[in-house]
């Protein structure tokens, strides 16, 4: 069979359904429409940059009606004056150069848009438009219709314009400007040529250098003074104290030197030092702009919801205005924002954001529904019981963990060293001073300042930023995204690991599926059959049209087959699907739906224990029973091996919100001594972590859903496992792509290697200090020597840590 791909989205095209338009093949009318839009507006070069870059537009029927509400829209805008309006929209589909091109040419598709600019790393587009000509809703609908549906959540509400902190860039710029110019002007001094002209203009050069060093000294280095002052105040000796001390002494002594005409001073070293240290700081900051580590429920929840007034009118209102007793309308794929009671007859609710469990739960009229669930299928009505902030799930956020400012009193490895470094340094300086004071008071002052200058722990301070910066990049390439460099040190210290079960060590993508042919009990008086390749083809085709998670799983499970056109496809929420494939009537779904015609009389004795704990799908073809598929929790690849490896070094615990139905399976799979704790509510998980911390454990929590959010925030390190890192993950310290879960042990070991690297390079940088001190204490520290030692040690350290951290990353996985 000839296989073709859709010109727009790249998916396989079924022969019977293919649409031939303008010499190109499309998989559905949606893709064709997008192509038509682009074609009419001469934007077809969209397809030139990247092959099949598009996405099939989703049905947005009524979804964005809330954008008619002026008060909601005004909260989303970034800027508005008269008719000029700017809005920033997050579009998760942005992934290639074609996306940038089409989104920056929006003004050709829609009148009223003046410019649009894409920020690729953040997956955002910033649109400037004329609000008299075009509305926000029209823009959002236009984006959706070309396959770039924006993601609007409660987080956008009142977000306004984010303040970007660019002070480090400024400081670095200033430091580089001063450093570069001072270096140029210092050259004559380096060569110490006794030439008339140089002597004549020396004063001019020196004072110019002095003037140039002022911005660097007062502005660029200001962060170090503040930090040193703070650490003295809290009586914690950190690395910034000797740095600040060194910088200040260097500046004072150099100024003194040129006033008294003793020499040229150390301004070149001073500004170089500041520049290199700021560079290290910059290098350490590696942000994954498209990820957010601070997500709470706000980024999951919609911004507005449809309320039904008592008179039957529908009205979009902001989520925060939902009140107890309101009646809400929840459409297909919409999130339930508050706890409430279901009014509609039946609903299927997917709680995968909350629990990680992908199979939807069926609720009936009068049942309680909790916030965080996503409605699948028809639209439903519900009555509100709690407001947003009082709902079961959102209450978690009122816990202290989320309130407190997360400025941890965490001692970094550099700070630990500097606790000894600073006193020893001062001791050496005073001893040197004490010795020379009896010989020559002048030299004594020189020695004292020289010691502080040369020992200024520039290399020491650079070690950690460069190592961590490099490690962050290496881990990021392996899809393990850390919030900041501090997390690496924390990782190396972990001694207890707590895992969530559902969605973390099990996958919610593919369940383990077993086929059970019709057994004898069921077979009484009924014709039955066994699924073979032919019937499996029919089933697979029938499943194709269904978006139910179980259908998708079963579809993926069944072997690859040819595609047949499906007629009379019908899906019933909470029941199953019915379809006519190649003349055979196929029914797939729940027991009641598929089998009730067969055995209304014989309903006992079939519900074995297996079926109660797992999800089962029954199948009939032309009223003949063909057995059932049982879905079981599938554990992630390499789980057993990972736990074997981890259990050697760490204490492992598993927390689960589920009942203990899987206890036996887990015990067989996991090493002995693994604690298994079931039936844990979100707050209990948090308390569990707290209890472990109370006995002095360094706890790492690995979780995925919103119900782990409390535990993730409480633990020393919260790692969130995500199937799709672009979209969802609760607040955490690190995000791990689910595919890389089995590498967790490697990541933990690598973080330890990083610490080893740092320790080794501390030794190297201390060696430089000893050499420098040798010059200083004998009273021989010339500005030229300082100017050589300082960059030399920096380069050695930077190259050493880069080579080492790359070496460790490449070592056996």
């Amino acid at each position: 069979m000839e296989k073709n791909n859709c010109f727009h989205c790249g998916l396989d095209v079924i022969k019977a359904e293919e649409i031939f338009f303008d010499d190109k093949i499309f998989c559905c009318t949606g893709c064709k429409t997008v192509y038509e839009i682009f074609n009419q507006n001469d934007l077809t070069s969209y397809y030139d940059f990247e092959k099949s870059p598009g996405a099939t537009p989703q049905n947005t029927n009524g979804k964005y009606d809330f954008l008619d509400n002026e008060s909601i829209v005004s909260k989303l805008l970034e800027f508005k004056e008269n008719e000029t309006t700017i809005i920033s929209l997050n579009i998760p589909h942005i992934h290639c150069s074609s996306c940038i091109w089409i989104l920056e040419n929006l003004q050709r598709l829609q009148k009223g848009i003046s410019t649009s600019q894409v920020n690729f790393p953040e997956k955002r587009v910033r649109i400037t438009f004329n609000s008299a000509t075009v509305s926000v809703k029209e823009i959002v609908l236009l984006l959706s219709s070309i396959g770039y549906e924006p993601y609007i959540s409660l987080e956008n509400y009142e977000s306004g314009k984010a303040v970007v902190d660019r002070s480090l860039t400024y400081k670095l710029g200033v430091a580089f400007f001063c450093f570069g110019n001072i270096m140029l002007l210092s050259f004559p001094e380096y060569f110490e040529v006794k030439e008339y002209w140089l002597d004549h203009y020396r004063g001019f050069f020196r004072w110019l250098i002095f003037a140039l060093s002022l911005p660097s000294f007062f502005y660029s280095a200001s962060g170090y003074y503040v930090s040193a002052y703070k650490s003295i105040k809290t009586k914690m000796l950190n690395i910034d104290i000797p740095i600040a001390l060194g910088i200040i002494v260097m500046f004072v002594r150099s100024t003194f030197d040129i006033i008294m005409d003793y020499g040229s001073g150390f301004f070149d070293s001073l500004t170089g030092l500041i520049f290199f240290m700021l560079l290290g700081k910059m290098f350490q900051i590696k942000t994954y702009s498209f990820l957010s580590f601070e997500r709470d429920f706000k980024s999951y929840f919609p911004i507005a919801i449809t309320k039904i007034n008592p008179d039957g009118r529908e009205l979009s209102i902001p989520i925060y205005e939902v009140e107890k007793g309101n009646r809400l309308l929840i459409r297909n794929q919409e999130l339930i924002p508050v706890d409430g009671i279901l009014l509609s007859e039946k609903a299927e609710i997917d709680y995968s954001f909350v629990t990680g469990e992908a199979v939807p739960i069926v609720k009936h009229s009068g049942d309680k529904v909790f916030a965080g669930g996503k409605q699948i299928g028809k639209m439903i009505e519900m009555e509100v019981l709690q407001t947003v902030s009082q709902s079961y799930l959102t209450q978690l956020w009122s816990n202290d963990v989320f309130q407190k400012n997360v400025e941890q009193k965490h001692k970094t490895i550099t700070d630990k060293i500097s606790r000894y470094f600073t006193p020893i340094l001062l001791l050496i300086a005073f001893v040197g001073f004490g010795y020379w004071i009896f010989i020559n008071a002048n030299t004594a002052f020189n020695v004292f300042t020289a010691v502080l200058i040369v020992a200024c722990p520039c290399a020491l301070a650079l070690t950690a930023p460069f190592t961590f910066g490099n490690v962050l990049r290496i881990l990021g390439k392996q899809k393990f995204y850390l919030k900041n460099a501090l997390v690496i040190e924390q990782l190396a210290k972990v001694d207890t690991i707590v895992f969530d079960k559902t969605g973390t060590i099990t996958t919610n993508k593919k369940s383990k599926i077993t086929y059970v042919p019709p057994s004898e009990i069921i077979g009484i008086g009924v014709q039955d059959g066994v699924i073979n390749s032919e019937t499996s083809t029919l089933i697979k085709n029938a499943l194709r049209g269904s978006n139910h998670p179980l259908s998708r799983m079963l579809y993926d499970f069944l072997p690859e087959t040819k595609l047949i056109k499906v007629d009379n496809f019908e899906e019933q929420a909470g029941k199953g699907i019915q379809a006519l494939v190649a003349g055979s009537s196929i029914k797939i779904g729940s027991r009641d739906f598929v089998l009730h015609t067969h055995f209304e009389t014989d309903n006992k004795g079939c519900d074995s224990e297996v079926e109660l704990e797992n999800t089962v799908v029954y199948i009939t073809i032309d009223e003949v029973y063909y057995g059932k598929y049982i879905f079981m929790n599938q554990y992630r690849d390499g789980l057993a091996k990972l736990f074997q490896d981890l259990s050697k070094k760490y204490e492992i615990k598993i927390l689960s919100g589920d009942n203990d139905g899987e206890r036996a399976t887990l015990q067989a799979l996991l090493p002995k001594g693994t604690a298994l704790i079931f039936n844990q509510k979100p707050e209990q998980k948090l308390e569990f972590i707290k209890a472990l911390q109370a006995v002095g454990k360094n706890v790492m929590m690995v979780g995925d859903g919103l119900n782990d959010a409390g535990a993730l925030a409480q633990s020393h390190i919260g790692i969130s496992i995500s199937e799709n890192v672009n979209v969802f993950s609760p607040a955490c310290d690190a995000i791990l792509d689910a595919e890389e879960f089995k590498k967790l042990n490697f990541f933990l070991r690598y973080s330890k290697d990083a610490i080893t690297t740092i320790k080794m390079s501390f030794v190297v940088s201390l060696l430089y200090n000893v050499v420098g001190l040798g010059f200083a204490i004998t009273g021989n520290l010339l500005p030229l020597i300082a100017a050589i030692i300082m960059p030399l040690s920096t380069i050695t350290i930077v190259s050493f840590v880069t080579v080492m951290s790359n070496y460790y990353a490449k070592r056996k996985r």
Binding site: K24, S45, Q117, N119, V164, T169, V174, N181, L208
Partner: protein, 68 residues
């Protein structure tokens, strides 16, 4: 030789000029996104497609031929 005052002043002034340009670039957000511009600068001719349409059309059919 007092020309050295003039020369150095000029060199410092030029440096300050560049420095001001840098500050302005940071202020307008040019350092916030360092990836997209690298892609954007490669777009150019696509906007004036109308004139070259026929040529593009033939190229596209050729492209499709090779695909089959």
């Amino acid at each position: 030789m007092s020309v050295i005052y003039l020369l150095i002043s000029i060199s410092i002034l030029v440096a300050i000029g560049f420095f001001i340009a840098f500050i302005r670039a940071v202020k307008t957000g040019q350092y916030d996104d360092d990836f997209t511009p690298s892609v954007r600068m490669l777009f150019e001719d696509e906007l004036i497609q109308k004139e070259t349409k026929n040529k593009e059309e033939s190229l596209k059919t050729e492209y499709l031929e090779t695909q089959k």
